[in-house]
């Protein structure tokens, strides 16, 4: 075997198409659930539909036993009946949760927990008690049977039924989204404004839950409940890390969902070989595509978390490191300036060791700061080690001016002990630009000395 592509067949294509359609259909309502902070609703809905599925199944069996339904009729009605049964319990779960919250004044997540665990327990009980009348495997509901989609096709077209169902669901969701886009957006971001504009926010919320329930059920039959939960949350969450606009988040979620489906199936094909290698077993068995899709969606989310250009961890680290570097450089300039001010008669500058000791930083950090400053032409080698250039001196004067103005301002307006003034100003000086300097100076009536008696350097018109 050389990779999953080598024995890719028609069945794999259909599996990926089914999974992608289901995932894309889920991603649309999932985005709104995520924005409304109701992500766990997907989890709840997928658990809560179990009794509906079982009851519908039992009802069909009862009809067949009573002779009202032929065997072929049973086969024909099976899917619609399961769909309706699951949709009813799904909506019931949503409505009950809402009512518990309102009438019992319960916390949303607690209300959700109460409703869906009860529904799920009821479903399990029904499964067990009626096991000899209807063969339903609860595991099947969990894992789905994505691998079997191709066995159930519509007529002679060769298109699997699951593909048609999920495509229809995706189309319905897309149309509803386009038609009610404005209302949904408004209800999601500013419910009170929506209400005051006369948009029935509560009804739209219920409709969203109903649509989510229907989508979940449609996807359920083919991909199982875990995948449904994953697809409702993970692609939208990934997209939300990458973008700030609702439209692009929605599009992004759909794209991520499709990528997840493909990646999940490839992983399902590739992973057994890996595990066999690790555990030194020799069997060729498969892992669940649905399970692997959940894993891939999680991986994509992790990737977005790390590498997102605006909110990613890497970006945060970079920004923080950058800021730290700038602060250190400015501190170096400040120290050099103060040394010149303190001992105008001695050779200017300072050596690396004493600088590192004064600023208490690691030598390599200092080295990086110094080389950056030298490159910019703000300091140059000379004097006792490094010394300020003329440009550097101007900038340093601006910094020291910020520092001392801030100290004076604090001393005038706040009750701060004198020792603390320096510390506070040390933090603030990096963020006080020329305009703030001017405002501070005017407020303090152009002071000449700071509270410690040091001279405040005069303003320079081209600082920084």
């Amino acid at each position: 075997m050389n990779g999953p592509w080598s024995d890719w067949g028609l069945i794999d294509t259909w599996i990926v198409i089914t999974a992608a359609l289901a995932a894309m259909a889920c991603a649309l309502p999932g985005t709104f659930l995520l924005l409304r902070r109701e992500s766990l609703m997907g989890d709840a809905l997928s658990h809560a539909t179990l009794p509906g599925i079982v009851l519908a199944f039992l009802a069909l069996h009862a009809l067949e036993d009573a002779g009202w339904l032929s065997a072929s009729g049973f086969a024909a009605w099976r899917h619609p009946a399961l769909f309706v049964g699951a949709a009813i319990t799904g909506v019931l779960c949503g409505v009950l949760t809402e009512k518990l919250q309102r009438w019992g004044r319960m916390e949303p997540s607690a209300a959700l927990g109460v409703v869906y665990t009860s529904f799920f327990a009821l479903g399990l009980l029904l499964v067990r008690t009626s096991a000899d009348q209807a063969h339903i495997d609860p595991g099947c509901v969990l894992y789905g049977n994505l691998e079997m989609v191709i066995t159930d096709t519509i007529g002679r077209t060769g298109i699997p039924r699951a593909v048609a169902v999920n495509a229809a669901m995706l189309a319905i969701n897309a149309v509803l989204l386009i038609v009610f886009y404005k209302e949904l957006q408004l209800c999601t971001f500013d419910r009170d404004l929506a209400r005051s504009l006369g948009i029935p926010a509560d009804r739209i919320h219920l409709a969203l839950i109903a649509i989510t329930g229907a989508t979940v059920v449609a996807a359920f039959d083919s991909v199982g409940s875990i995948l449904v939960i994953a697809m409702l949350v993970a692609p939208p969450a990934t997209a939300i890390l990458l973008s700030d606009r609702l439209q692009s988040v929605l599009i992004g979620a759909v794209v991520v969902a499709a990528v997840t489906a493909l990646g999940g199936h490839l992983a399902a094909l590739a992973v057994p070989a890996v595990i066999e290698g690790v555990f030194r077993t020799t069997t060729t068995s498969s892992v669940s595509t649905a399970g692997m899709m959940a894993v891939v969606s999680g991986t994509l989310f992790l990737a977005a978390w790390c590498f997102s250009p605006r909110h990613g961890l890497l970006r945060q680290w970079y920004d923080r490191a950058h800021l730290r570097q700038r602060i250190l450089s400015e501190d170096v300039l400040g120290v050099l300036y103060r040394l010149e001010e303190l001992r105008p008669d001695v050779t200017p500058g300072a050596d690396r060791a004493s600088l590192a000791a004064t600023l208490s930083v690691a030598p390599w950090r200092l080295w990086r700061a110094l080389s950056r400053l030298t490159k910019r032409g703000w300091i140059e080698p000379g004097g006792q080690g490094v010394m300020l250039t003329d440009v550097g001196r101007t900038i340093a004067r601006g910094l020291v001016r910020s520092h001392r103005l801030w100290e004076s301002y604090l001393a005038k307006h706040f009750i701060v002990p004198d020792q603390r003034l320096h510390q506070l100003a040390e933090a603030a000086e990096h963020f006080v630009g020329p305009q703030v300097q001017q405002a501070l100076a005017e407020e303090l009536e152009q002071p000449l000395h700071d509270p410690h008696g040091s001279k405040i350097p005069p303003a320079d018109h081209n600082t920084r």
């Binding site: 995520l34 902070r37 992500s39 997907g42 989890d43 518990l100 009438w103 019992g104 004044r105 319960m106 916390e107 997540s109 607690a110 209300a111 927990g113 109460v114 665990t117 009860s118 799920f120 327990a121 009821l122 399990l124 009980l125 067990r128 008690t129 096991a131 595991g139 969990l142 894992y143 199982g224 875990i226 939960i229 994953a230 409702l232 949350v233 993970a234 969450a237 939300i240 890390l241 399902a268 057994p272 595990i275 555990f279 077993t281 069997t283 068995s285 498969s286 892992v287 669940s288 649905a290 399970g291 692997m292 899709m293 959940a294 894993v295 969606s297 999680g298 989310f301 978390w305 909110h311």
Partner: protein
């Protein structure tokens, strides 16, 4: 034979056998699950108050990959040792803890809210778990039967050593809560104050989470990892409807948890094919439903009764006022209010009620001794009814006058606005209204109707009615 038939066919001896715990197996299972129910209820109450009710759900789902991985590891170490329970539970604990850490780490992203973090963790870990489990199922050595018990539970087949582990874990959990109940109380109600006054809030949270993981992992075998969260959500939410106090809530929640576990086990022992795990949860749901309806603190039934009583009073007030208005033209004769009959058609003409609503209302008034039936559909006010009618009309008119004089409400709107308010007028407000409107006459005086055509005799002084 359906379970219900078997229920009805059970001999008395069978019931006695179950209820008297003659059966060793039932005894064992009952002990274990009741302990689990109590501990789950107590811990769950803390989680509910900390607003993290569903963390247990995430912990239990996140435990699945640990079980699968532990099985694979043990199998690869020594074949046929894969179902060694302590090893599997250790794996479950580690991966549940990893899952919650993962969720917590994700909570630090400002864009991802807590619910999304939990949902993502749940689906990701559970997905990995299912992938592992399906893979193990296909192995020639791996009979996943042993592992899928963790999914759906096997309460009916608990062994004595399972009970020991449940008892130890439950004892530890309850013991810790008893010892640290004050600290937990502070944590649940004002964590910021606790932090500010130097309590190790973070440590307490970690401890609580550790207890949740412990209970989840231990309880998984009895009710299954899909339903273990129910043991921590249903009892405290049910208990919340009975009490507003912290410690009673904890113990009540534990009691409800124990009771639902006992009920579930007994029911499943009586009825074949009733899976214990599901029945335990359902009896918890039943207790919740009862508390939700009849709980003394926030029960829906009591609140509904209160509202219904108010609505009845309002309807009666309206009816009596209508009677007064109908009788108003005859007030010059002394006993008009009690002597003059009121036809049902006259009341209908008011346009306030349909026939279907008027008739029960009239019967209600008759029962309350406010009206009495003259003959067929003619009614008369009783002595109590007379007083109440005068009072109702008076409240309405006073409020209406106030609105017209002081709130600049036009004459047409005054009637409707007064309708909304008059029923909630309390005596002291009425008194104030009287003073403001300078109607100095004794209490049972009805101001004239501002809507009536100007009649100098009526509007000059308020209509005097002898009490």
């Amino acid at each position: 034979m359906s379970p219900f038939e078997s229920l009805s066919l059970l001999a008395v001896t069978e019931w006695a056998r179950v209820f008297l715990l003659r059966d060793y197996n039932t005894r064992i299972v009952l002990c274990g699950t009741v302990l689990l129910g109590i501990a789950g209820g107590v811990i769950g109450a803390l989680m509910l108050l900390r607003k993290r009710a569903l963390v247990a759900d995430v912990a239990s789902h996140a435990a699945l990959p640990g079980i699968g991985a532990a099985y694979l590891l043990m199998e690869s170490y020594r074949p046929d040792s894969g179902r060694w329970v302590p090893g599997l539970l250790l794996g479950a604990t580690i991966s549940a803890a990893l899952g919650l850490l993962f969720a917590q780490g994700m909570g630090r992203i400002r864009r991802i809210k807590e619910d999304a973090a939990l949902a993502i963790t749940l689906s990701l870990f559970f997905g990995v778990g299912i992938a592992l489990l399906t893979w193990i199922q296909a192995l020639p050595t791996g009979h996943a039967a042993g592992l899928s018990e963790f999914l759906f539970g096997k309460a009916a087949a608990l062994l004595a050593r399972d009970i020991t582990s449940i008892a130890v874990a439950g004892g530890i959990a309850v013991g810790v809560v008893v010892l640290l109940r004050k600290e937990f109380c502070l944590l649940c109600f004002d964590s910021e104050y606790a932090l500010a006054s130097g309590w190790p809030v973070h440590g307490l949270d970690v401890l609580l989470t550790a207890l949740v993981i412990m209970m989840t992992v231990v309880g998984m075998q009895s009710v299954g990892l899909l339903l273990i969260v129910a043991l921590m959500v249903l009892p405290p939410t049910a208990a919340r409807f009975w009490t507003d106090r912290f410690e009673p809530l904890l113990w009540l929640s534990g009691t409800i948890g124990g009771a639902s576990a006992a009920g579930g086990v007994i029911l499943s022992a009586l009825v074949p094919k009733f899976a214990a795990g599901a029945v335990i949860v359902l009896s918890g749901s039943l207790l919740f439903a009862l508390s939700f309806l009849f709980g003394t603190r926030r029960g829906v039934w009591w609140r509904y009764r209160g509202t219904a009583a108010t609505q009845r009073q309002i309807a009666l007030d309206d009816l009596l006022r209508a009677c007064y208005e109908i009788l108003e033209p005859y007030l010059h004769s002394p006993d008009a209010l009690t002597e003059h009959p009121i036809a049902q058609s006259e009341l209908l003409q008011k346009g306030r009620w349909s026939l279907a609503r008027l008739q029960p209302l009239l019967r209600l008034a008759e029962r309350s001794d406010l009206l009495r039936r003259d003959f067929q559909d003619r009614w008369r006010l009783t002595a109590t009814g007379r007083r109440a009618a005068i009072q109702a009309a008076r409240n309405h008119r006073l409020w209406e006058l106030y609105l017209i004089h002081y709130a600049d409400i036009p004459l047409v709107g005054a009637d409707r606005s007064a309708d909304a308010f008059e029923h909630s007028l309390r005596p002291e407000i009425l008194e104030q209204l009287e003073t403001m409107l300078e109607t100095q006459s004794p209490r049972l005086t009805v101001p004239s109707n501002p809507h009536a055509p100007h009649d100098p005799k009526l509007s000059a002084t308020a209509t005097e009615v002898r009490p």
